[in-house]
């Protein structure tokens, strides 16, 4: 079967790959590009562990074909830290112990970053609704919500 040639941008870098027609963007990221930060939890768009943004829009990469990424701007968890310097959300997740096993964490960080880009000062309720599509079986969510709100506060107060 002939493969599809895709030219796209991931975390600001131009990327080329070959993929099959039915292959998800998540499988392309993990299996063809070695970007294993995005996780497969359910593969059906329920858990949010594979969250990425496409042209700034938060989506599940398991529900998008790799072929659809042609010409788009993809952002994944791998682009979040600035070199060795963690993003405030990443730092606050560690400070608040907002993770245990960590499988859901990349997706939650990407989703939370997408929220704070749109709304730098979300309420707890807005944050909980925005993250309703990111499932975590360890934390009970409270620490996650506190970490996001604390990161938002720090980012608002940053000079």
């Amino acid at each position: 079967m002939s493969k599809i040639h895709v030219t796209t941008t991931i975390n600001g870098d131009p990327v080329d790959y070959l993929c099959d027609a039915g292959e998800s963007l998540l499988d392309v990221l993990r299996d063809r590009l070695g970007m294993t930060g995005s996780k497969e939890g359910c593969g059906t768009g329920d858990c949010g562990a594979c969250s990425v943004t496409v042209d700034g829009r938060l989506v599940c990469s398991c529900l998008m074909l790799g072929a659809e990424a042609e010409g788009r701007e993809i952002a994944t968890i791998e682009g979040m830290a600035d070199g060795e310097t963690l993003h405030p959300l990443q730092r606050k997740f560690i400070e608040h112990a907002a993770l245990q096993c960590g499988i859901c964490t990349p997706g939650i960080l990407v989703a939370a970053q997408s929220l704070l880009e749109r709304n730098p000062d979300p309420t707890e309720e807005e944050t909980r609704y925005w993250l309703a599509g990111n499932l975590c079986r360890c934390t009970g969510y409270d620490k996650i919500i506190r970490a996001v709100l604390d990161a938002a506060k720090e980012m608002r107060e940053a000079p």
């Binding site: 079967m1 599809i4 099959d20 027609a21 039915g22 998800s24 593969g43 059906t44 768009g45 329920d46 949010g48 969250s51 496409v54 829009r57 938060l58 989506v59 599940c60 398991c62 529900l63 998008m64 074909l65 072929a67 659809e68 042609e70 989703a111 997408s114 929220l115 609704y129 925005w130 993250l131 309703a132 599509g133 990111n134």
Partner: protein, 288 residues
């Protein structure tokens, strides 16, 4: 499997005709990709992605109402101030579907063509009197949204046809709409019952037009004519709402399944109709 991403409706129609039916339209993909990856072994020969067709990506004013392209996402609808102001019930119904991530991809036309009896946006569109524009080999045709689903998972579209847009009519003077659903938790679930109401009040606050629809209580979304009759000519007061609840429960013909029993769904159909009509009345400028 092949992937096609044509940039015009004509190119899409040519591809569809050439594939003789063994081709799936890809809009948001939130239902299609789950099916593709479910290992049922009946994958289509081709996938036709309609998101590269520019005119299908826009929300445009038309005839006082709004034309919503088949590739417009729920998130884009929720961010469109004019659309939200005119048809809040339709936008809320669409925005109830899934998570933030799902909203980034899922489309109104896709929710319609997936033909689930529990599709949230469909009762709201039926109540609003929405029309689906269908492109096909003989040109474009417009049909009421209620005529698209024919059974769970089935539509009235021909093999070489696809929906290019949904048109919501001009919001009438004194008009308001609402959609409510019951789910056992606050987010991220499939409707056990859904109800859409669109109504119009005259200057004296008397209802002079109404459309009431129910979802998830039959094989397809139903327009409840008796619901409209219960509201028209009234001030949508308690007596009218009681009558509405009664006829909506009567109209419901649900199944028992893990998400709800016949008795529960029948009762809730009336409860939701009453509440949705009350919200629609407030939105129409009536007493809240």
């Amino acid at each position: 499997m092949q992937y096609h991403a044509p940039t015009s409706i004509d190119d899409a129609l040519r591809l569809l005709a050439a594939k003789d039916g063994n081709c799936q339209i890809l809009a948001g993909g939130t239902d299609l990709l789950v099916r593709l990856h479910s290992e049922t072994g009946d994958d289509p020969e081709s996938i036709l992605d309609i998101k590269r067709i520019d005119e299908l990506r826009a929300i445009t004013p038309e005839a006082g109402g709004w034309r919503i392209g088949a590739a417009v996402s729920g998130a884009e609808m929720g961010e469109h101030a004019g659309l939200v102001a005119d048809w809040p019930g339709v936008v809320e119904a669409m925005n109830l579907i899934g998570s933030t991530q799902i909203q980034g991809r899922a489309t109104l036309a896709g929710n319609l063509c997936n033909a689930s009896p529990a599709a949230d946006s469909v009762p709201a569109m039926v109540a609003a009197g929405a029309m689906a524009r269908i492109a096909g080999p003989e040109g474009a045709r417009d049909i009421p949204v209620a005529e698209v689903p024919t059974a769970p998972g089935r539509t009235s579209l021909g093999k070489a046809e696809f929906i290019t847009s949904i048109h919501l009519p001009a919001r009438p003077e004194g008009g308001g709409d609402a959609y409510l659903r019951f789910i056992p938790r606050s987010e991220m679930d499939i409707a056990v019952v859904g109800c859409g109401v669109a109504l119009t009040l005259d200057e004296a606050g008397i209802c002079n037009a109404a459309r009431v629809s129910l979802g998830a209580v039959g094989p397809v979304v139903m327009l409840v004519e008796a619901g409209a009759e219960a509201l028209i000519g009234t001030a949508v007061d308690d007596a009218a709402l009681d009558a509405l609840a009664s006829v909506c429960s009567d109209a419901a013909s649900p199944i028992d399944d893990k998400r709800g029993t016949v008795a529960f769904r029948t009762h809730v159909a009336g409860v939701l109709a009453r509440r949705a009509a009350s919200i629609a009345r407030t939105r129409a400028g009536g007493a809240s």
